[in-house]
Structures are given as structure tokens and as C-alpha cells.
Symmetry: C2
Subunit: 253 residues, 2 copies
């Protein structure tokens, strides 16, 4: 039976733990993390064994290091070179771990919040490992929880992660700025929900963002742009000007 | 019977014409626009009368001016001061038309593409008019096609339009930039669909953007930020830096 040891108590650790625990596969799962309160919650929800020390981790298991990027190296260096270890970061290249052959990447391309249900079968998982046998094993494990598993080398994974930062992190922050404008003027944010829904539905139906762009910048409507700039200041104004410039450049013949 | 005369042959004209035509209300609809090919399509799809000249517009009808912002003034000035006229712009203030009392605003807060079905009953319509009786009539007309009708003065409408530019136009362009990064590296854009879907679902379920922000900037992960900046140049790099700065500022204690 494959044994999986998860390190971490954050959102990725939680959702991976949950996905493995409910995969219906013969997996034995143990977990170690700093936040003991969170781990007790894991234990109450899933069939997992909680470890009190990292040294208790089974030497024959595959360790999933689900900690923040700046902690990954320290955690991985704490293991014997014979332990199979994967990390879940989009950014850190596999080459970073030079003299370790039993290391791999298991990157779920999704944004996770702890209290939100995720259908893990739809989450793309990108796999990479130095050892080909281990890579094959990781693909099989990933397929137990996701219908979308593919190999990706570090460069490809980093490019996907960068695109994901734009597609999720940046759009989400732009929505926050949009809400801020309404908040300042005591206007209810729910007014924009149908617009946001329609924007999403178009993308979901397969329209490319470039073909559905609308608005003053797309129309070269400089009167409106000038008027809207007058309503903003600071970073919001800088962002308005820069994205407007980028839209105008995109549609310049 | 209320008579509605639409001027324009673009996306707003098309969807308003369609919504009025299928509202099941006793409305007589006529339309005049520059693009005759599009108007023939309107005629084939909806119960509307196509006018060949603006002068044919019925003096007793309410004219809906659905043209681009820079054309609105010219079109409205072409009418007798006794004609009831509304325009559909989010930006232009009603005060702009100083000595005209029979003018109003009928602003549908949505992004329209001609070949896409829209459920108009969900589209917020913002109404404003100088004449209170006319304003009431516009509200009644709007309620025939939408379940979300509210009064909004020009300042409020302009602020909502500005927020909508961020929520739709800017997020859509950021998605375009995200796709560009993948295109350049021959990676299929569909890989990001589950991530984009999840981002949208969270907003749709009522999460505020500020509470669901994730990513390197939110985590102050400067290693990743530096690495990602190294993969970008030009306007994309400027946008990455500026939005990252804005996210960091938002979460600074």
C-alpha cells in the first residue's frame, strides 16, 4: 500500500489530504504540521494519522512537502537522501536540489481556501521528477485524485505559474480595487455581479479574452479615459493608466 | 402603446432591441442605424420596423440613442427639444445637456457581444432624468425587461461605470496577458480554466476579493516575485510590478 506523508497545515496540505483521503484508493496517510489546531481538524475530517514529530515519518513513504516556498529547502534538507520527497510549488526548479535523485514536483494548479469545497478531479496536476520510475509513480498517484495529470519540466511549470498569477492573483486584486471604488461611494458591490458573471461565462464558453474586450480603452475613447483618470489617484490611477495603455497597444493596427 | 425608437446598430442597440421585442409587453419598436446589414439581421430576428432615415422617427416615441459616447451629442442635437430622448452611456453626465428637459439616461450595466445570448432580466438598469414624470416612465419601461432597475444620478453612474471598467475591461485584459504568456511558450490556455472558474465561483458565492487573495505578492514572497519579473519585459513587466506593489500595500499591516 502506498504511504503518503504530508508536511504542512495550510490550504494545499488540507486539500491534498482531503483528496487523497476520499480517493477511494488504498493509501495510508500521515501528516505533520506546525499548526496543531488545524491538524486536529484534519484528523476529525479525514482518515489520517497525525504525527507529533517529523522524525516519525515513515522511511518508505512519499513525503509531500506543502510548505511556503521559502521553507521548502530547509524541510527537504532535513530528510535522508533515500527518502522519496515531492514539493508542491509552482516556482522552485527541480535543478535547485542538485545532488538529490529521489525528489519530484507535484504541483496542483489551483487557488485553495481552507473552508471551500474543491472538486480535485478537475484540478490540473503537473508532475516532474529526476528519476523516471519515480515520475511514473507520481503520475499514477496524481491520477488517483485528478483527471488532468501531465508532465511539465521546471521551465514550463514556472511559465504556467506566472500565467496563473495574472489569471487569478492579479484579476482578483483588480476586482478588489473595483470594489474599493464602490465602497468609497457607498454603492453595493453586488451591483457588479451580473457583469462579473457574464465576463466569466464568456471565457468559460471558449471566447478568447482578446475577442471580447470592451470599454473606453478598446474604443480609444479618450474623453472617458480622461474623465475616469480624474476620479482616481495614487496606485489606482497608475494602474488605470498602465492597463489602459496596454489595451490601446494591444488593439493598435 | 409605448413606442420605442432605437438609434444604433451595435451591441447595445441589438440587445435592447431584442429585450424589448421579447418582453411580451405592448411596445412598438422602430430602429435606425448606419450599418444596414446589421439592421436587416435585427429585422429578421425581431418584430421591429427598420427606418431608412432618422427623420422618419415618430415624434411621440421615446428615442434610445445607443451610439458611441462621442456621437451622442451630435445625434441628440438633431432632435426637436420636444422629443423624449434617452442615451445608454455610463459616462456622460445629464448636466451636459443643459437646456433640454426631455432627456434621460437608460444605462444597462453589462458587457454585450452581439452573438451571445444575454438574460436581460438580470442586467441592472440605471435610470436618470431631469423630468420626474419622464423618470418614472423610464423606470416602468426598464422594469419590462429587467428585474433590477434603480435610479442613479450622474455621479453615481460614473463611479459605477469606473468600477465596471476595472471589474470587466481590466480583468479581461489581464486574462489576455496571461494567455499571451502561455501562447509564447506553446502551452494550452485551457489549462488555466479550472483556476479561472474557481476564482469566479468564490466571488459569485459572496467571498470578497480581499479575503481570497493568494499568490507571491500576498505572501511577500520576494524570491518568486524577482524570478517572475525576470521572465517579463515591457508593459507586461510594468503591470506585474505595479499590481504586485498594490497587493503588497493592501495587506501591509
Amino acid at each position: 500500500m502506498t504511504k503518503i506523508s504530508i508536511i504542512g497545515s495550510g490550504n494545499v496540505a488540507y486539500h491534498l489530504c482531503k483528496a487523497f483521503s476520499f480517493s477511494g484508493q488504498a493509501l495510508e496517510i500521515e501528516i505533520f504540521g506546525r499548526n496543531k489546531t488545524d491538524l486536529i481538524q484534519f484528523h476529525s475530517e479525514f482518515k489520517v494519522k497525525i504525527l507529533t514529530q517529523m522524525a516519525e515519518i515513515d522511511k518508505t513513504s512519499i513525503v509531500f512537502v506543502c510548505v511556503s516556498d521559502d521553507q521548502i529547502q530547509t524541510v527537504i534538507n532535513g530528510f535522508d537522501k533515500n527518502q522519496f520527497v515531492v514539493y508542491t510549488s509552482g516556482t522552485i526548479a527541480l535543478d535547485f536540489f542538485k545532488d538529490n535523485n529521489k525528489i519530484g514536483v507535484f504541483y496542483p494548479l489551483q487557488t485553495f481556501s481552507k473552508n471551500r469545497e474543491i472538486d480535485f478531479t478537475t484540478v490540473p496536476i503537473l508532475i516532474e521528477a529526476k528519476n523516471l520510475e519515480f515520475e511514473k509513480e507520481l503520475v499514477l498517484i496524481a491520477k488517483q485524485i485528478s483527471n488532468h495529470v501531465e508532465l511539465a519540466d521546471s521551465t514550463k511549470r514556472q511559465n504556467i505559474h506566472l500565467a496563473a498569477v495574472f489569471a487569478n492573483n492579479f484579476t482578483n486584486h483588480i476586482l478588489h480595487l473595483s470594489k474599493t471604488i464602490l465602497d468609497k461611494n457607498n454603492i453595493n458591490w453586488s451591483l457588479l455581479k451580473p457583469l462579473i458573471q457574464e465576463s466569466f461565462l464568456k471565457i468559460n464558453e471558449g471566447y478568447e479574452p482578446k475577442e471580447i474586450q470592451t470599454g473606453p480603452a478598446k474604443r480609444n475613447d479618450f474623453e472617458t479615459i480622461k474623465m475616469q483618470e480624474g476620479k482616481l489617484n495614487g496606485l489606482e490611477l497608475d494602474i488605470y493608466k498602465l492597463i489602459t495603455k496596454s489595451i490601446i497597444k494591444t488593439y493598435r493596427k
